[in-house]
Symmetry: C2
Amino acid sequence: MINKSFAEITHPIEDELSKFNELFKHSLKSKVTLVELVTRYILKQKGKKIRPILVLLSSDLCGGISERSYRGATLVELLHTATLVHDDVVDNAETRRNFPSINAVWKNKIAVLMGDYLLARGLMLAVDGNDFDFLRVITNTVKRMSEGELLQISKTRKLDIDEETYFRIISDKTASLLSTCCEIGARASTNDENKITAMKGFGENLGIAFQIRDDILDFIGTKNIFGKPLGADIKEKKITLPLIYALKNAPKDESIKIINLLKSKERKTKVDVVIKFVKMYEGIEYSEKVALEYSKAALSKLEQFQTSESRLSLESLVSFVVERKN
Amino acid sequence: MINKSFAEITHPIEDELSKFNELFKHSLKSKVTLVELVTRYILKQKGKKIRPILVLLSSDLCGGISERSYRGATLVELLHTATLVHDDVVDNAETRRNFPSINAVWKNKIAVLMGDYLLARGLMLAVDGNDFDFLRVITNTVKRMSEGELLQISKTRKLDIDEETYFRIISDKTASLLSTCCEIGARASTNDENKITAMKGFGENLGIAFQIRDDILDFIGTKNIFGKPLGADIKEKKITLPLIYALKNAPKDESIKIINLLKSKERKTKVDVVIKFVKMYEGIEYSEKVALEYSKAALSKLEQFQTSESRLSLESLVSFVVERKN
């Protein structure tokens, strides 16, 4: 795999990213003062912008960045922001990217409405640009993301989750949007269905690797200013791949003990017991191996494209995702 | 004005409404058990279905009900249901149509995700039917509805609301969707921009009359199993037309007293004081007069259409809306 810094990855689209940032800022303008206030707050919290980067790099790879690519990038970032705002209500999160969350500052009611507003603004961009193909893709993604989260919630309650369900959940709640970014980026610059399918598959595999890495970091990450605290998933009874594997791999009586711990409120203070269990029964190694497989599958989708700066960046993004420490 | 019972109003589209109900039920199907559970719960709470009725009657009036009309009706009802589910989170409501609200039964997190899911399903219907014109209208409506509610929240906090702001809020949060119902119904059966504009205007005026009536009922309605309890808006510091007028019409010192009461927590136990004030300074009569003006404006938009059963029903719906007791 190729290792590049994040700045190197975005280097080929540096100017285009600046233009995107302007458009994104502009797309958040509103005559309602409260909306302006909340959006300015959102703009201060600079994320990595992985999703618009994927759109722009995919467009570049498939024929070149166009006006449609910018609209696509803005659309996905608006949708992503909307889901973050709603997710913080869903998770009752107090902070997001080291800032107090919207619901923490303005209460749930404003967070719910702001999420709806941001989603609508994104869709309106596509409508105004006559990007019917984007709308087709994005509405299905909104459905999959909410359905994936709802599936996770219901399975979490019952502590009933196997590998198959896990992959269904992460494919819907995370990979679907990354896949959509790459698909929209491709559609913005080509009609070649082979290329579009390849980019869609690239995003899907990247997304799954991304989420597995995220789930691994819940066990081995260090709490830092950007990441979530260690064991956050355990506290919420979210059963992810490292734990699913460890539960299957460990002697039955030990697994039962862990399940009982997860069912009790004690799990909140005994996160370290679960982490130790997962490490002992190779949940981390297994998950890293699986993430690597998905990242290889992602890379293989790029093989049909000629070598170019944007292809190299997309390849490096894969390494970045599966090797990140937070 | 023509007075018909609700059953008489819907009589010309009775069969079509049954077909709509089937489609609506079908549109809620999901492979995720939890989603099915929540949607079955939603389906049990039969509302009046005013919005799909408006779509179907408008289509009928403009040339006849088609497959597109049914999709439009299902789309608006899905959007309406999504906003109700989100509104209950926004308002922290415990009940909806005499049933415990989704957030009360399943908590906020599921209500937020279910709202997103329902909206996405609605948009997907339009995407699958290639109804790009519907998407153009509906995405703008989603934006207006959320922006209208956010404007109301920010103005409510500061108790800073005049008639102009009031009309801006109710036009965005309520009238926009009723207007959209009529516009979509018209678009489903005609390309005649005059007819479409007339129906859009009909819905807008009807919607404003509808919301004013709703706001009047907060002062004069009786708590019943379907309606909200008397004075609910006052408790939430929501300043609506009857109160805006009374505050302007009353002697200044009395208005200041009421404003101070509204600012204090006492307003929750002294709802009757505010109601008496509004009645004494003719807030009800004034608002009824204004609602009547809007309902006449709505009726005037129908004049260009030949008399027909569906035109009569739409006219009766106007009377129904401004004269309803809950």
